[in-house]
Amino acid sequence: MINPIAASSAAWILAICLSAVLAPYLAPYPYDAQDNQHLLEAPGWKHLVGTDALGRDLFSRLLYGTRLSLSIGILTALTAMLIGSLYGAVSGYVGGWLDNGLMRGVDVVYALPDLLLIILIKMMIVQDLLGIFLALSLVSWVTVARIIRGEVLRLRESAYVEAAQALGMSHTRILLRHILPNAMGPLIVTLTFRIPAAILAESTLSFVGIGIHPPMASWGSLAQEGWAAMKFYPHLIIFPSLTIFLTILAFNFLGDSLRDTLDPERRPA
């Protein structure tokens, strides 16, 4: 990762993760402390990126929001990877009618745009956090399943798999011991791309008012709060939006360079 873009992306992601973990220590104010003397202040010395309509410090809220956004992003990405990898690996390895059937199921989910499905599922669940988690996981696993199935199909034809089968190795062991380790590269890359997709979906949902609601703070809900006052107090929307954008960008760049690194025969985009 000598590539400066990839390096700075990794640095940003590290900084974001650290600030999520260390939020209580880094935040100058509690995220819900209201200060009626300092409403809607522009960025300054007392409040690094300003305050909102209730006098809450935006920087502190951003820090705590990082916890929510990042954990939702990573958790849903991991869950989607788990479900999707299992589904795709079994489908690709077994093949035949099972593969056909499983992929038809995937196609039905694919018939609708993803955000549409996410909104529909989230609507069913009253609890914000659980709703977003379930909605994002249940929709994004299909992308993972397709990718992993492709990989397994490719690896299934390898000589060592054939040899293992000839030696009488059980299919489960083959999947775990031979196919999975060799699919690690694409797996890691897929995971690296799933996280920004999840962050994007969550912040979009929260922005239109269907995801995380105030006073809980995620980057998206902070952007939503800032949007109402955008004309006169742009700082309220600029900083959350910038954070979302830079984080998603960083993960995408990291994923790109990981893909180029881990799979040399691939053409760089």
């Binding site: 745009p113 609507m123 995408n252």
Partner: protein, 305 residues
């Protein structure tokens, strides 16, 4: 060719059935009916209202009634906008969204294809790397971030374009650009990698060996064969535009299907939600069908299947 089309259309019907069943199922599991408002209605009126909207029937019966209505083209009444049917609302808003979407597609194709061609003509150069960096940024930037940035810059600061509403051609510009940037970035990448692949093919070398001018080769041979991934992208592009329209129409207060969908979800207006979902499903299926047909038209090898 006709058999191909008929087969693909027939495939769409069961998918639509499944989609409508799933949306129906989802909406009837949702807690909180459309009439659980703050002011509690007196029980007789509540019962009347429920009878009128068939909410007192068992779920399977409601489903059958709904399907029957679908066959008549009736998507049911809106729960929120009393007196208006879902079909009416969709008809009004569909035009708006389509206008916006078509303009966005045009912008995306023009920008993306030219950028892709330019990048591919100077591979590895500073321009190429810059354009590809821009395209990665374009893919990563969330819709609402781009829209608000455009509004802040071009509306609040420069006062060039209106920040919201839908009252004339100038109102198109910012929303269409917001919708078009991500597809443009994708198309630029697709175009670039496709051209770089096609250029290596033997028939291009053969054309150049025959003495055809570089321009001629580029236009008639390279471009035609490079377009295929872009054409395939038109299917996912329709889906991208649909989801993009949710955010963009919401931010710019454009009276399109996307904005009504969002408000319907917030208001739990079941028939409107289901109607819009079905319309979107039909749209996506049609878009994919068109892509397949275009593919078959452009690449004779596909027709032989």
């Amino acid at each position: 060719m006709l058999r191909f089309i008929i087969r693909r259309v027939l495939w769409g019907v069961p998918v639509l059935l499944i989609v409508s069943s799933i949306t129906f199922g989802i909406l009837h599991v949702v807690p909180g009916g459309p009439f659980d408002q703050e002011k509690k209605l007196p029980p007789e009126i509540q019962a009347n209202v429920e009878a009128k909207y068939h909410l007192d029937q068992p779920v399977w019966r409601q489903y059958v009634l709904y399907l029957q209505g679908l066959l008549r083209g009736d998507l049911g009444p809106s729960y929120k906008y009393l007196g208006r049917s879902v079909s009416d609302i969709i008809r009004d808003t569909f035009l708006v969204s389509t206008q916006l979407g078509l303009v966005a597609i045009m912008i995306a194709m023009i920008l993306g294809i030219t950028a892709g061609i330019f990048a591919a003509s100077h591979p590895g150069s500073g321009w190429d790397r810059f354009l590809m960096f821009l395209s990665t940024t374009g893919i990563a930037i969330p819709n609402f971030v781009l829209s608000t940035a455009l509004i802040l810059l071009f509306s609040n600061l420069l006062h060039l374009f209106p920040p919201a509403l839908w009252e004339g051609p100038r109102y198109l510009v910012l929303p269409a650009f917001s919708l078009a940037l991500l597809p443009a970035a994708y198309i630029a990448r697709l175009m670039r990698s496709s051209i770089l692949e096609v250029i290596k093919k033997e028939y291009i070398q053969a054309a150049q060996a025959r003495g055809l001018s570089r321009f001629h080769v580029m236009l008639k041979h390279v471009l035609k064969n490079s377009m295929t991934p872009v054409i395939s992208y038109l299917g996912p592009l329709a889906a991208t535009l649909v989801t993009g329209s949710f955010v963009v129409e919401f931010i710019f207060s454009i009276p399109g299907m996307g904005k009504f969908f969002i408000t319907a979800v917030t208001n739990r207006d079941y028939p409107l939600i289901m109607g819009v979902t079905l319309v979107y499903a039909v749209l996506i299926i049609l878009a994919n069908l068109m892509v397949d047909i275009l593919y078959a038209v452009m690449d004779p090898r596909v027709r032989l299947e």
